[in-house]
Symmetry: C2
Subunit: 363 residues, 2 copies
Amino acid sequence: MRAHNLALVLQTVANSPDRPSRAATSTATGLTRATVSALVDDLIAGGLLTEHEPAPRVGAGRPAAGLALAPDGAAGLGLEINVDYLSACVVDLTGAVRHRFVAHADQRPLAPAAALTELGRVAGQARQAAAANGLPLAGAALAVPGLVTADGTVRVAPNLGWQDVDAPALLRAIPALADLPLSVDNEANLAALGELRADHGGEQTFLYVSGEIGIGAGIVLDGELYRGGRGWSGEIGHVTVYPDGRPCRCGANGCLEQYAGQEAVAADAGLAAAALGIALAAVVNLLDIGVIVLGGAYAPELQRLRPGIEAEVHRRVLTADLAPVTLRAATLGTDAAMRGAADTVLRAVLDDPASYLNLRRAG
Amino acid sequence: MRAHNLALVLQTVANSPDRPSRAATSTATGLTRATVSALVDDLIAGGLLTEHEPAPRVGAGRPAAGLALAPDGAAGLGLEINVDYLSACVVDLTGAVRHRFVAHADQRPLAPAAALTELGRVAGQARQAAAANGLPLAGAALAVPGLVTADGTVRVAPNLGWQDVDAPALLRAIPALADLPLSVDNEANLAALGELRADHGGEQTFLYVSGEIGIGAGIVLDGELYRGGRGWSGEIGHVTVYPDGRPCRCGANGCLEQYAGQEAVAADAGLAAAALGIALAAVVNLLDIGVIVLGGAYAPELQRLRPGIEAEVHRRVLTADLAPVTLRAATLGTDAAMRGAADTVLRAVLDDPASYLNLRRAG
């Protein structure tokens, strides 16, 4: 009951457009003022809430008084491993990115343990920076360009050359991460969640496409990530665009990835945009989704890619004349996946602050 | 309140594996025995329920006594217009098909009003047969191979050559249908719903593919039809399989329909199966759906199509080695769409028996 009410109070403050008072929080939650005050005191002591005192009236305005999420409370460590970079960010409870580290290097020659050890170095930098700022980390989440099971095992990451990698075990072996709650998920799924949350009150149904060396997608329907039967939805990079076309690392021919991956875009943006348009038209024909968000390396290239994509979508989508398809760049640019990863850590705190406070007390 | 309780009692009987007594229905619903008895009497008087008396014990067995849906109560009139046939069926509350009429004729030369007048003749036959058997019709639903809006307007049916057809108005002008509640929906969506309900307790997530002259799909996720933003999902017939391939009636090139429509299957089943496999692989890569149900004209052809489809799916689905994809023929064969249409009428009665009983009393 206390755990439920702690979450209720914390979420009421988090979702409030202004800083609610203790009294307003009592009204919004239906809890008594005494109960709310005790819970608020616990959340302030645990570093999750902060209380702004009313300022003396000076001049025309007056800063808002009341409760707010604490910017120096729990923070999330977002990590990403991709084919040609490693990255880490620290995001605080208010959603602000406090630290950000990126190391560019080709990961393909490295075995999984070696690549994750390198990632551990970047994560360690982020962790040191957070500690220097007094930001306690509530956990870490890793974005991987591959098929991830619910327990965090990477079944296949074709562009990294990984197969059946127990990523959580390898991460726990890294000193900088050993003591943190850890999770692992597909990078396009995490990026789609990052976009969904960055665009508060915005589009609730969209396709997020992440263009790196490989290409993945996250499908958001009515504000929820659609994961599919086994959590392996969104493999748009392996949708066939030219059935007898270029061979792909996955064993098939003519996969989108071979025409519109980052290297292919650099070589021939026109061909890449046409291939993307063909695959995106298939998605719109199948799912009747009206908004497509291009992220990763596509975000800065959108202007160059747009005409080719739009021409194919217009030509190949049966409903193109009846319902427009909107194409836009990801709000979070190339950081969407690691931001989404950090966000899953923070969501877990907002959903269950009691567990976080207990861990913090024990730690 | 009475309307809600009528629905509760009717659905409790409908979902019960055996024939529940009034007492058992009272326990299951939480309503008093007196309330249940009054509601049951109303449902019996309205023709929706029937009560079986216990039979005298003779020999080893004894027929079950208790409440059941009435086989001669409300029935649904399911209608379908497709490119080369018109059909109608009468389905009773127990799900049994009581009458079925099919007229084979090419509808493409006819204007919409003329085609629907022809459909009215088939519907009239079904209606007469139902009346001769004392089956009261609760309504009619029409399956159309095209894009249908929520109000029943057919925006486009490419293979019929229809555009912006006010189907409900044309249907209401037909004497055999004028006095019935009417609805119109996409044929693949209705067929997918028909399959979902025919396979009680079976697969809750699957792709239903309807192969006629055109090709449509219904996407069922966790027991719900996924309709998309505007209700126009499932246009798999216009997914591109060969970007520079055969021209399609929709204006694009290389649409699946041009390689795997009914006429193309007859001409070259190998080519059709490969094209189907390419498009289905795209669906599995995008949605991580493990079950594909082939209906319409595909159902009787499955044995011939299976090897080609499975070869392409195995080659082109990234997770093919990790998670099998099951391919099966539709349980309802070519009748799935009109059966699904009739079923929507019966669902409406089960969801709101009070409205049906009021209409019946007024009529």
